[in-house]
């Protein structure tokens, strides 16, 4: 029986889809059977980030409405045998699926996959409720900005109310130099407010944009700093004890990171 993990944030554009694609690919690279579920109906992105858009025939709405069998809608990744995508519908909206349908969908998926990773839409309305309905664990993504952290806090509260306890936190787009100058919230500042466990910290990295545009997740790029962060997070989710390479990030985050990856 697999595990259903929702990646959520409240605020839009903080990196949920990027995280889903990279952690999912990272877990598949470790040999796990993974399915990524895009619940951002009407604004689907995950297929594009994975470079799988041109393979979509059926989507999550077709599956939940019984228009096709689950197998027909699952898209096999180009790179990893064990990685699959269940795409969102683009021409419908969030009300096309109900939380009950999502619960049933997740129950079915976790029979076949080790990890069911759900890319949640921004917001706290129906799309969010759908995305968390079938989840057993939650990962909250935030950026080091007051507004994003505020929204993350709200989301954590909603997750707890929905019995999704102990969500894990990902801090995305951290810029160590700015933190050092005192112009950006530090990891400690954020943890201080949110009081949850850290799953990982992803530095701001141009390569994310490059790899996203190419449809090839950064986690596969051995030279990508953000990719390393995602590789570590995948291993942590899989139960390995990988030290947080960047916890003392306040000084020398980048150089420490570089050392870890084998840069000089």
């Amino acid at each position: 029986m697999g595990e259903v993990i929702v990646i959520t944030s409240g605020k839009g554009g903080v990196g949920k889809t990027t995280t889903t694609a990279n952690i999912g690919t990272g877990l598949a690279a470790l040999g796990h059977k993974v399915v990524l579920v895009d619940t951002d109906i009407g604004l689907r992105n995950l297929d594009v980030v994975l470079g799988l858009e041109n393979r979509i025939v059926y989507d999550i709405v077709d599956v939940t409405h019984g228009n096709c069998r689950m197998k027909q809608a699952l898209i096999k990744d180009k790179r990893f045998e064990g990685l699959h995508l269940l795409p969102a519908a683009q021409t419908k909206d969030k009300t096309a699926v109900t939380p009950d349908q999502m619960r049933e969908l997740c129950d079915n998926l976790k029979k076949e996959f080790d990890y069911v990773i759900i890319d949640c839409p921004a917001g706290i309305e129906q799309g969010f409720k759908n995305a968390i309905a079938g989840a057993e664990r939650a990962v909250v993504v935030t950026t080091p900005e007051v507004s994003a952290v505020r929204d993350a806090d709200r989301i954590i509260g909603l997750l707890e109310a929905a019995e999704l306890r102990e969500p894990k936190l990902i801090i995305n787009r951290l810029r160590p130099l700015m933190v050092k100058r005192g112009d950006m919230m530090s990891i400690d500042d954020i943890i201080d407010i949110l009081a949850v466990d850290l799953l990982g910290v992803v530095p701001e990295d141009e390569l994310i944009v490059v790899t996203t545009n190419k449809g090839e997740p950064a986690v596969l790029d051995g030279n990508c700093r953000a990719g390393q962060a995602y590789r570590n997070m995948a291993r942590r989710i899989a139960g390995e004890d990988v030290p947080l390479m960047d916890l003392e990030a306040n000084d020398g985050f980048v150089s420490k990171l570089k050392k870890l990856i084998g840069f000089k």
């Binding site: 041109n54 025939v57 027909q72």
Partner: protein, 204 residues
């Protein structure tokens, strides 16, 4: 696009579009919450494009396609066939954007672009007087003689009746000429659009 004056067959889609220019029929774009992609199925391996300067143009076989034509009851087939017989044509004078879906029980002519993330589903032919980059399904009720033509034919996915092809992965060269896609000998082929092609295919 060239006017297909020579063709006096039933495939009047180009001409028809011209005829209706002045009428400016309203775009019939429906969100259709419970109508998905109409029935489609396997997996004919598309062949090389006939356009010599673009060896990479044609998609390979999608690897997750349905095994059986899981036909959905999105539309009653009778009215559709009827409409096709009448060469019913709709003219869309705007850009079809991501998330928009045009479904029509006849031919669809778009004077504008069809962007990635959008869908055109037609019982008949599809003509795009612009760049076709979204998903297109011509002959959606099963007409294998339906065609898709566009000034720039770069669809994410192209379906005719129950044949599906998709764009190749990675970058590929943008087409320089208007092109037409149709089923020939059981596979989807894409060729440079030429006047009189329709007539030929009719005879052949």
């Amino acid at each position: 696009m060239k006017k297909d004056k020579g063709s006096k067959g039933k495939k009047l889609f180009v001409k028809k579009a011209d005829d209706r220019l002045s009428e400016d029929s309203p775009a019939k774009s429906k969100g259709t919450p419970d109508e998905g992609v109409p029935s489609m199925a396997e997996k004919k391996k598309p062949e090389k494009s006939a356009a010599p300067d673009k060896p990479d143009k044609l998609p390979e076989k999608p690897d997750h396609l349905p095994e059986k034509p899981a036909r959905k009851n999105t539309v009653e087939s009778d009215p559709w066939q009827q409409a096709f017989a009448d060469d019913n044509t709709i003219l869309i004078k705007r850009t079809v954007r991501s998330g928009q879906c045009i479904q029509f029980d006849g031919n669809v002519v778009v004077m504008g672009d069809v962007n990635p993330g959008s869908e055109i589903i037609a019982a008949g032919n599809v003509v795009v007087m612009g760049a076709l980059r979204g998903v297109v399904h011509a002959g959606a009720t099963g007409r294998e003689d339906a065609t898709v033509s566009a000034f720039k034919l770069q669809p994410t996915q192209l379906r005719i009746a129950n044949h599906i092809t998709r764009a190749p992965d990675g970058d590929y060269v943008a087409p320089e000429h208007p092109e037409i896609a149709r089923i020939k000998d059981g596979v989807v082929v894409i060729e440079t659009y030429q006047m009189g092609q329709d007539r030929q295919s009719k005879i052949g």
